[in-house]
Symmetry: C2
Subunit: 372 residues, 2 copies
């Protein structure tokens, strides 16, 4: 674990907030149609999901991969990912970090930790990397801050904790876990969530911790070029796990969308949308155009289809992503879902999803593009 870079008193934070901001400069989320701004948006039928055994192929319309005997899996976001846009070195960095995250989760399970602990540990690895849009690598809001969302759920108890709009929390997934374990509440936002963090002895970090040149340039590009932000952004992270007791767990963490309006909440902190876990059923974490995933309650839909329709986890995951397509067009995102018999589904309708998994016998597989 890294040490926290800096701490500060609550009072300093409040004082720092006193800046006179013309409302009109904040681009407050006005656009005629929600969800319609996704890449290549347009009406799309709810076409079937092609599923291949443990070897994804270019998705048309969706890429659906399955793997068996999986105990742990992560994603690092779904979106427009093309080989030609990524240097070999950067690609290696992504694969290495995904591998590290999967191994972290797998080892936690091997040491007898709970699935919830394994999910938290792996997501912390991804949050601490600047490569992903969560924690350290979070994107900037239109007000040039980093507002983070996260949630975690324990399938054994249906306990959950989630935070939204936190701006001084290094590892939002750990704050979500703290809320699950030590609060009667399940979802807290903004300053209230940070007060809870302080109450529990979690140090705050200043906003400069989250500064990365890459994300700043993305913000400048969004403000300079298009008036819009990009709903097709990648980098939300998530994990699912099953431990030796058969307990399922899932978690998700994100910085949201570059140039998003202040206070915008996506699906990542919403139980039933971005994250769901229920023993004997499924654990799932989603990534994509959060607005659509909220409207279709994507992870709860997968849970309900498996429970009520007896569908396989991969078929249910495909159906849930199809629902988001029907609302919002192509490239809406993806989901990872693990059932209680250790069947894993990766389903996404984008050209890539950072992803990886570990099997019970220790094999680790990491992929990025749809066609690998």
């Amino acid at each position: 674990m890294f040490r926290r870079t800096s701490t500060l008193a609550r009072t300093a934070l409040l004082a720092a907030a006193v800046v006179i901001i013309p409302v009109t400069a904040l681009g407050a989320a006005a656009a005629p149609q929600q969800g319609a701004a996704a890449d290549g948006a347009g009406p799309a039928g709810s076409a079937g999901t092609r599923t291949v055994q443990d070897s994804g192929q270019s998705g048309d319309p969706n890429t659906g991969e399955r793997a068996r005997d999986v105990v742990f899996a992560v994603h690092g976001g779904a979106g427009t990912l093309r080989r030609e846009d990524m240097s070999p070195e950067l690609e290696r960095e992504y694969r290495a970090k995904l591998t590290e995250a999967v191994r972290t989760g797998q080892r936690a399970l091997a040491r007898g930790k709970s699935s919830t602990a394994a999910v938290e540990a792996a997501i912390t690895v991804l949050e601490d990397s600047p490569l992903f849009n969560a924690g350290k690598g979070a994107v900037f809001t239109t007000d040039a801050e980093n507002e983070l969302d996260a949630s975690i759920m324990d399938g054994a108890t249906l306990d959950t904790g989630a935070v939204t709009g936190v701006t001084h929390i290094r590892n939002p997934i750990s704050l979500a876990r703290e809320m699950m374990d030590n609060s009667r509440h399940v979802l807290m936002s903004g300053e209230g969530a940070e007060r809870f963090a302080q109450h529990r002895g979690i140090d705050l970090v200043t906003q400069d911790y989250f500064f990365t040149e890459r994300r700043w340039e993305s913000l400048m590009a969004a403000k300079g070029g298009e008036s819009d932000f990009d709903f097709g952004e990648t980098g939300t992270v998530g994990a699912v796990a099953i431990d030796d007791d058969g307990d399922l767990a899932a978690g998700t963490s994100t910085g949201g969308l570059t140039n998003k309006p202040v206070g915008r909440v996506g699906d990542s902190p919403i139980v039933g949308a971005g994250t769901y876990a229920k023993n004997g059923n499924i654990a799932a974490s989603a990534t994509g155009t959060g607005e659509l995933f909220i409207r279709e309650a994507v992870t709860h839909t997968i849970s309900a289809q498996v429970e009520y329709l007896g569908r396989s986890v991969s078929r249910a995951a495909g159906a849930a992503i199809d629902k988001t397509e029907a609302l919002g067009g192509n490239d809406t995102g993806g989901v990872i879902a693990l059932d209680s018999r250790r069947n894993l589904a990766f389903t996404f309708n984008t050209s890539g999803m950072y992803r990886g998994y570990a099997t019970a016998d220790g094999e680790i597989v990491v992929k990025i593009f749809a066609d690998e």
Copy 2:
């Protein structure tokens, strides 16, 4: 419509926020078990729901009422409601306001307004009344502010808008509607949501608008007597409607829990938990211990059981409330749910729920206690 009482500039609000607050004074939500603090909390089996035709009886375990040919319904919260605790005058006031809200929704539909417009209009009536825990009558947080949550959903499009933690919005349901109609986002929190409101020309009100002696006394009692707040509190409001086009809609609005920590989010603004609407399926609005309703995705569960299991809306509503009981014990709350064939279910496991409905032929029925 009343006129707004006062407006103020954003900058004044920000300046007013600069008060040095010792974190320890804010009682930041630390308690060992979430959900376990509901009245009479304890493990409870998932017993069946008794359903009676259009005449509720004392619930054991749940009160499930049905009504046919319903086009509009409201609730004003479920909780511990006993005749002996309520003066005849106050009871008359509640019945009169519920009747006004139902009539408002019914008349909107009769004038050809959409189900979404009818839901908004009726909830506005309840928000403007000090009787209910929403808008004007909202309860106080532990920091003696009023933080409001609301959501609305159009079953025809699955469009939705929701706000959480707004402190200067007179009618949060109207801001939720504004977000649904004029933002690509579906959920915004706190200051960001209020910036969106200003961007859309909605005036802000100062916190004193929400001051009521009754709610202040509740806060003082919570701080003086028990260290806890009361999860069994009543007063969240909601509505469901179906219009002549067969379009379903639902909405929910609340002030949350007396003495709640700053930033706590319950189920009311969460699509799939507090509110859900989908054409050909159901429209539902929930009220109760929000943490449990989030964990069980109560309104989406009703939708999924009707769609995937072919259950009646009343059976699905009973099953969803039973799920919250299994997690959190008795008195977890209730839900109103209307299906596309105009069957209405009121289901609750408390001693009362403020509720009312209108049939297609104009009959209006209003009830409070479980045994009427």
